[in-house]
């Protein structure tokens, strides 16, 4: 009888603890990333939240042998950490997709874009402050293009090691803008340009886990 009471008490306490933790998570504030509004009172983006946004300004990959331009597409990331203001948040970028039908290429030897997808996942780190920035590392963007020989060439562009591309975060657009960020060929045919720059914007970025509220950086 005593054992049963203890067990029931423990179970009740455990449930209460779980509810308390969950409640704190959904209502926590003061993080680098928040939803709905900026500021110390705004609700945090939670670990595991899925953030997504459309291409808002053209993705343009410029090289010495031409450029690839895409006017529509989608960004998706999952929040991994969300530190207190003054620190950083991290996310796993799982999608950096462009709609091939809305892409063009002037890269020598290519005639059209077949697909633009992230290869694996990239790492994102949000730093706040006066110039909030999304630092992207381990980015491998796989671009498949139709060639003048009617077959496909696949070029992987991105950054490896400690190299990164940086995007400026904005609470006005709730998005990120990359401007002439250096990327290089990771793998692919000799038809693939070896270096280039990437520009483009994604906005608004919303938290689909929290009613698709717009995200803010503090």
């Amino acid at each position: 009888m005593r054992k049963r009471t203890l067990a029931a008490t423990a179970a009740t306490a455990a449930c209460g603890l779980v509810l308390t933790v969950a409640g704190q998570a959904s209502a926590s504030t003061g993080g680098v990333l928040t939803v709905g509004a900026a500021g110390s009172g705004a609700t945090n983006v939670n670990v595991g939240d899925v953030l997504t946004g459309p291409i808002s300004s053209n993705f343009v990959f410029t090289t010495s042998s031409g450029k690839i331009t895409c006017t529509s597409g989608k960004f998706t990331a999952t929040d991994s950490t969300n530190g207190a203001v003054g620190t950083s948040a991290t996310e796993s970028i799982t999608q950096l997709h462009a709609d091939a039908a809305n892409c063009t290429t002037t890269i020598s030897g290519t005639t059209s874009v077949v697909s633009v997808e992230i290869n694996g996942t990239a790492n994102g780190k949000v730093t706040d402050g006066a110039s909030p920035t999304l630092h992207v590392t381990n980015l491998d963007e796989k671009v498949t293009m139709k060639t003048i020989l009617l077959t496909n060439v696949v070029c992987d562009f991105g950054v490896t090691g400690t190299n990164e591309i940086d995007g400026a975060l904005s609470n006005t657009t709730n998005g990120v803008t990359f401007t002439s960020q250096a990327v290089s060929k990771i793998s692919g045919s000799s038809l693939c340009p070896t270096t280039g720059t990437f520009s483009g914007g994604i906005a608004p970025i919303t938290d689909t886990t929290q009613s698709s509220l717009k995200t803010f950086v503090n």
Partner: protein
């Protein structure tokens, strides 16, 4: 007296055979006379492209093209013999591929079309200067007598031409050849390799996977540039430059036709170390450049080439 007479006869025979060998070489190496205006600019050297051939005119073709490739240097090691290419070689042919033609897909998911080829209008697919190959164990003081003059001759058309495989671990093409050995004592029909049993070169700008004792060797795709037709036609020209191609997995058959009734075949085999199994031979082609004019329409390609004739 008899020995002197025999020496005298042999000397004359050697001289006659050497002269015949050099005459043959001279004929083989002499360029065809240019009687009509030749293509220029990006199509230079493509005057013998077989654009009117049934192969390139086939309406099922999705892509057609003309190829002029030069090989600046390199060499080969066959068995125990090592020879450097002393002067450039030129390879010319037409190419065609049907939309449902063969392709190869690489690990990075790039796909390359495998083109079939057509012989140039003058029949000269491969132009190579003769090589003076010393005979092992002999001081070479009399080329053609104390050495073998070797002509590299095609033994069939180029096949499986995959220009977009440059940089992949895959052969850019397969080129069957035979080595024509000219020597005073070997006669005029001494060959290593034949049309039915050729030496097949399968060089890559990537990395080879030979059987031992050879080890993987890596080529270099060099640079690639693609330009549109200068006169606005639909053709494009792919230019490769500075590439290095390697093949060290090829096999080399034995000699045949050497000496009277093939009596010297065994000597050639013994001296040069042939036949030689894969893993014991290497061909390296350096300074490789190629101009490849491609178009989806053979009539457009023909017009584009003709528009540059001067």
């Amino acid at each position: 007296m008899a020995a002197a007479s025999l020496f005298h006869r042999l000397k004359h025979r050697a001289a006659a055979a050497a002269a015949a060998a050099f005459a043959l070489v001279a004929v083989a190496a002499s360029p065809a006379a240019a009687s009509t205006p030749q293509p220029s600019g990006p199509y230079a050297g493509m005057g013998t492209c077989p654009v009117a051939s049934p192969q390139l005119q086939n309406p099922n073709n999705a892509v057609v093209g003309c190829v002029v490739a030069t090989i600046g240097g390199g060499g080969f090691t066959v068995g125990s013999t090592k020879v450097n290419f002393s002067s450039p070689m030129t390879v010319k042919f037409g190419m065609y591929w049907a939309a449902d033609g063969p392709t190869v897909t690489f690990p990075d998911e790039t796909t390359a079309a495998l083109f079939s080829t057509a012989t140039p209008t003058d029949g000269t697919e491969l132009s190579a200067s003769p090589l003076n190959v010393p005979i092992p164990g002999l001081a070479n003081f009399w080329p053609g007598v104390t050495s073998a003059i070797v002509l590299i001759e095609p033994a069939g058309p180029v096949t499986a031409f995959a220009p977009l495989s440059a940089g992949e671990n895959y052969p850019l093409f397969k080129l069957p050849i035979k080595l024509h050995l000219l020597n005073a004592f070997l006669g005029l029909n001494c060959y290593v390799g034949s049309t039915s049993s050729p030496i097949v070169l399968s060089p890559t700008a990537g990395t080879t996977s030979p059987p031992p004792p050879n080890r993987p060797a890596t080529g270099d795709p060099g640079s690639i540039a693609i330009t549109a037709d200068p006169n606005g036609y639909g053709a494009s020209v792919i230019d490769f430059a500075g590439a290095t191609l390697v093949d060290n997995a090829l096999s080399v058959p034995g000699a045949h036709g050497c000496g009277i009734l093939d009596s010297a075949d065994w000597i050639v085999n013994s001296l040069f170390g042939v036949p030689s199994a894969p893993g014991h031979n290497t061909v390296t082609l350096t300074g490789v450049g190629a101009a490849i004019a491609v178009d989806t329409s053979v009539s457009d390609l023909t017009t584009a080439i003709n528009a540059t004739r001067k």
